[in-house]
Structure formats: structure tokens, C-alpha cells
């Protein structure tokens, strides 16, 4: 688990987006977590099983394990005396719900079905380029893991993701881009980094979001 900023009592536990979007958003999310330090708040970023620097192969990743692992990260921080607040982005909002926390903050939450659809579509576009066919229905049913957008993913994981929706409940603040029609507590004018063909960063947006998250943490801590 990577740690950022001061050893504060209030600690933000971050849920990275999984799979392809992890590559495009890691630099941005880390910039945001570092910027929290300017507000006197420390942060922790765990690698969930089968993602990041986890030793488990990507194809062995399971949504239920992610939820348990993230909840275990929260318990560890709490045992160390921290008061844990959760920050999740995109697909990170699909596995943060089992963890206890003082408050929860979501940026650009997305359903698991939409994530799977994006990855299937990328696979189809790649197949079209090379002149082969890829049937979207091929990911259903039993069989070996499926390669989608450069990740080998278990079919059970894809099935679980199809039904997964972001945590919704009390103590949640949600931010979205202004181009997203879904309701939010605040809309941000910025470009969607998770759609960018090449990973990029936006330090100004990271600082803006860090300030919003820090305010929310302080509000919920008092």
C-alpha cells in the first residue's frame, strides 16, 4: 500500500479504477493524493488483487476479492488509529462499498456494464483493424479468460462486473464532468482523461479535486 502526505488522523483510502483505465488515470490519481497533503491530509493507495503491483495474475482477479481486499485495507488503517475516508474514481466505485468509512467521495462513477462495454468495443475495433471478427457474445458462458483491451479477464469477473453498480448510500459526495448528464453534487469542467488514447495528467484538475475532497473530509470529520 503506497502512502502519501502527512501522518494525519484523517486518512483518505483511494480506490483506483481497474484494468485499462488504471493505466490512464494512475498518474492523475497519484497527483491528486499528493495534493491532499497540502491540505494536511494523508492518503493510502492499495493494489487490489490482480491489479497494479499485486502478485496475482490479472486473470485470477475477482470482484468479490477486490471488495474484501479493499475492506481489509480500511481495517488495517483503522487499527493503526486512522479515521478512514474513501475516495474512488470511475470503476473504483464498484468495489469500495464493503469498506467502512467516515465519508465517501466518488469522481466520475461508472457502472460495471459500461466498463465491460468499453473494453469489448476496443477489442472489436482492434479485431476489425486486423480483419478478424470478435463477437461481443463470446464473453458470456464458460471458457478460458478473455483478452479485452490488453487484459486477460476471467469470465466470472466479467459477469460480476456486468451487474455491478457504484455504491450509493449516506455519506457520499459525487462529482462528475459537466459533459456527464447524470446527477452529481458538483460538475467539473474538464476533459475525460480516462478516454485519452495515451495516458496524460492534469495537475490543475487534480488540485481542484483534492481541494474539494479535503473540504469534504474536514466537513465529515468535525
Amino acid at each position: 500500500m503506497l502512502r502519501f502526505g502527512p501522518q494525519s488522523r484523517e486518512v483518505v483510502l483511494a480506490a483506483m479504477p481497474p484494468f485499462e483505465e488504471a493505466n490512464r488515470l494512475r498518474a492523475f490519481f497519484v497527483t491528486l493524493l499528493r495534493a491532499l497533503g497540502d491540505h494536511g491530509i494523508g492518503a493510502a493507495l492499495p493494489d487490489i488483487p490482480g491489479q497494479g503491483e499485486s502478485l496475482r495474475p490479472t486473470e485470477d482477479a475477482a470482484l468479490d476479492d477486490w471488495r474484501d481486499a479493499f475492506a481489509a485495507a480500511e481495517e488495517k488503517l483503522t487499527r493503526e488509529g486512522a479515521r478512514v475516508h474513501i475516495a474512488a474514481m470511475r470503476g473504483g466505485t464498484l468495489y469500495d462499498g464493503r469498506a467502512n468509512c467516515q465519508s465517501r467521495w466518488h469522481f466520475a462513477p461508472v457502472t460495471g456494464a459500461a466498463l465491460v462495454r468499453d473494453m469489448v468495443r476496443a477489442r472489436q475495433a482492434a479485431a476489425k483493424e486486423s480483419g478478424e471478427a470478435f463477437d461481443a457474445k463470446a464473453i458470456a458462458g464458460d471458457g478460458p479468460p478473455v483478452e479485452l483491451a490488453g487484459n486477460l479477464i476471467a469470465r466470472a469477473m466479467l459477469t460480476d462486473l456486468q451487474g455491478a453498480v457504484p455504491y450509493a448510500g449516506p455519506g457520499l459526495r459525487t462529482l462528475r464532468l459537466d459533459t456527464d448528464a447524470a446527477p452529481a453534487d458538483r460538475k467539473i469542467v474538464a476533459r475525460p482523461l480516462w478516454r485519452r488514447a495515451e495516458p496524460d495528467n492534469n495537475p490543475a484538475m487534480a488540485r481542484e479535486l483534492a481541494a474539494d475532497l479535503a473540504d469534504w473530509v474536514k466537513q465529515c470529520a468535525s
Partner: protein, 90 residues
Amino acid sequence: MISEQHGEIEATVRAVLRDVLGLSDAQVEGFDPTTPLFGALPELDSMAVAGVLTELEDRLGIVIDDDDIDGDTLETFGSLTRFAVGKVSS
């Protein structure tokens, strides 16, 4: 009314290409209907095609069936805009 809506959709297509491909405002402002896209923009690979289509769906409130996309859809800025206009009005 139709031309006004066409202009709005064209602006959305321009913004989506800018945002997904990481192009500058100046570059996308220079796009005209004959500007070649697929094969001409190195940024537009298969992942980016998927991003462009999904982002168009989100911003225009349309659903794109992957069977709707053929080799010509992303050939030029004009063909992609015509495709989007057709989807919005269908």
C-alpha cells in the same frame, strides 16, 4: 432548425475528437468535412475509436450499435459528423 442542430452535433464531434485524441483546439478548429481521420491521425487507434464512440454516445444521448460502424464511418470528419447527425435524428 436542422442546420442549427447540425452545427451543435458537429461541435460535439469536434470536442470529442479533441478530448479523446488529445488534440489542440487549433488543430480541431481546422477540421473541415474532407479532413481525413482514420489512418491519417496516428492518435486514432482501436482504443481511441472505442473512446470516440462511447464519448459520442454519452454526450449526444445516442446508442451506437457496433454493426452501424463500417470502414467509412471514421474516414473523414464529414463522414463521422454525418453518422452522428443520422443517429441523433433517428
